[in-house]
């Protein structure tokens, strides 16, 4: 590359980087500033304090919401990996009546927009008596059709010899899956895990619909209601502090596993 165009690339990239980084830095700095100083372009202030965070912790049980979110997302992730791999194994490695039919159904369900089942799903939760319980947050997310497809795709490439050898040793299908396939499947486990976790962690619409009691609210839901429900009393800084608290856990995880996040999310590209 010529020198001139190289410099040009660095200039545009730095500018682009600023567009993405600066708002976050600005938000973080604003959460430590008094409300009066929010109308500033710069990041520094002589009056940094934790007051805005104190307001958030005093007004909403955000710690509890964090625990709820961790619990719900972990259950969803664990179960999506478990069931995804079990069903993916069956669809890729077992011969049984109706296999093609199930595969067809899975592909078909991926085309259905969720808008059509949203209201009936809510009514189902009401009829099951699951509204305002963890069950409504967890159970509908326990199986990920996309996860099943990813596992199936990955398992198709594992050599049949491994299965045959294990069968001779008297292994059941579940034993083959968990003892032989799992150690080979780290990439797809990570991908399905991250996709399920992010999907569950960031979902707001569904929790808003099925959970109304504060004790069970997920973290994004609670921050949303803190902002919309007027509890923030139009204190901009404490709204931003609540938003920062919501962002921090996932940003920390992202900082360590950045590569996995990007690779996993990029596989959503395979969806179609």
């Amino acid at each position: 590359m010529e020198k001139k165009s190289r410099i040009w690339v660095y200039i545009t990239m730095t500018f682009g980087g600023l567009i993405f980084a600066y708002p976050f830095l600005w938000m973080l700095s604003a959460t430590f500033k008094p409300e009066m100083e929010i109308a500033e372009i710069g990041l520094m202030s002589a009056n940094f304090s934790l007051d805005n965070y104190r307001v958030v912790f005093n007004k909403i049980p955000i710690g509890r919401a964090l625990l709820n979110s961790i619990f719900v997302s972990s259950c969803v992730t664990f179960s999506a990996v478990m069931f995804g791999s079990i069903v993916g194994y069956a669809l890729s490695r077992l011969r049984f009546w109706g296999r093609e039919l199930i595969l067809g159904i899975i592909l078909f369900t991926m085309v259905i927009p969720f808008q059509i089942t949203l209201i009936p799903m809510y009514i189902l939760m009401v009829k099951f008596g699951w509204v305002d319980t963890y069950l409504s947050l967890i159970v509908p997310g326990m199986i990920s059709t996309f996860g099943i497809l990813l596992f199936r795709q990955f398992f198709l490439d594992i050599p049949q010899d491994l299965i045959d050898a294990a069968r001779i040793d008297g292994c059941s299908d579940l034993a083959i899956l968990f003892r032989i396939f799992f150690p080979l499947s780290k990439p797809v486990i990570i991908t399905v895990g991250i996709l399920s976790f992010m999907g569950s962690w960031n979902d707001v619409l569904w929790p808003l619909i099925v959970v109304r009691v504060r004790e069970l609210m997920t973290m994004p839901q609670m921050v949303t209601l803190f902002k919309v429900g007027g509890q923030a009393e139009s204190q901009i800084s404490s709204q931003l502090a609540a938003a920062a608290l919501l962002a921090i856990p996932i940003v920390i995880v992202y900082a360590f596993f950045q590569r996995y996040f990007i690779e996993s999310m990029a596989t959503t590209g395979l969806k179609n």
Binding site: V9, M13, F83, I105, A242, V251, N272
Partner: protein, 274 residues
């Protein structure tokens, strides 16, 4: 071993689907008994000016969001495709808003957009421009939300384009260069056609995302000003959970899903032809 899926499918896919066909012919607020109303829900839908406005708003969102997203994602992907230092760092940075919750992004951008105290207007006035009523005027509000959504999602599409770009064989560019093709020509005759599949993917993914637009207007504007950011999802949500019109909301969801499928089919046809 595929039983878990079969059970799940029956309860959480097949039943809700069948139930939605049932609901659209009923009037119901969950509390009182259901009432058969035949096609009256549809009759009401076709006279519901607000609903069509909300669909129109959603389409306005898409019309701004998709081209902007493609242009920005393609631009940055092409920069990242060059041999530069800190590539991984920039990639990670662009991707950061993708993993952060939409609620955070919306609360943050509401402040960036604030008329009096927002960062954007502060910068504009610093350079001698007028303030823009980003989310305070019906004309600007939806475009502003579309810009924010682009900022949030573009990292994902940069990665998708990057994957596509890396799949283009180098010799195509070398051959074109020998034939004397200018960079612009190389872009239009090699890069763009080779990215056709990625393009379709990006368009469809952002369309699906755009049609689900909910939390951004819910948190930022509540659908205002003057219903200009009332998205279809927000309208359906309000009908169901604010007014308790379950049957009607199910009808709206049903109709809206058909609109979505139709739009995606059309997009597929158009992109595939080009």
């Amino acid at each position: 071993m595929s039983m878990p899926y079969v059970v799940y499918f029956c309860i959480f896919v097949a039943f809700p689907l069948a139930f939605s066909f049932f609901l659209i012919f009923h009037k119901w607020n969950i509390v009182t008994p259901m009432e058969w109303v035949g096609l009256r829900n549809f009759n009401r839908l076709f006279h519901d000016i607000q609903f069509f406005k909300s669909i129109r708003n959603t389409l306005v969102f898409l019309a701004i969001h998709i081209p902007l997203q493609i242009a920005m994602a393609l631009f940055f992907a092409m920069q990242l495709n060059k041999k530069i230092k800190f590539r991984g760092f920039f990639r990670a940075l662009f991707f950061l808003p993708v993993i952060v919750s939409g609620v955070v992004i919306t609360i943050l951008w509401e402040q960036l957009y604030s008329y009096e105290t927002g960062l954007l207007n502060l910068i504009l006035t610093r350079f001698g421009f007028y303030r823009i009523p980003w989310i305070n005027s019906p004309e600007w509000a939806m475009p502003s939300i579309a810009i924010m959504a682009t900022w949030k999602n573009v990292g994902l599409y940069i990665i998708l384009f990057l994957v596509g770009l890396q799949g283009i064989p180098k010799y195509l560019y070398e051959a074109a260069e020998i034939d004397g093709a200018k960079p612009i020509q190389r872009f239009f005759y090699i890069t763009l056609p080779a990215l056709n599949n990625t393009m379709l993917l990006v368009v469809i993914l952002s369309t699906i995302g755009g049609f689900s637009l909910f939390i951004e207007p819910f948190v930022m504007t509540g659908g205002g000003p003057m219903n200009s950011t009332l998205s279809a999802m927000l309208y359906i949500y309000n009908q169901a959970f604010y007014f308790g019109h379950m049957g009607y909301a199910a009808t709206l969801g049903f109709f809206f899903a058909l609109v979505i499928l139709m739009v995606i089919l059309i997009q597929k046809k158009v992109v595939e032809r080009e």
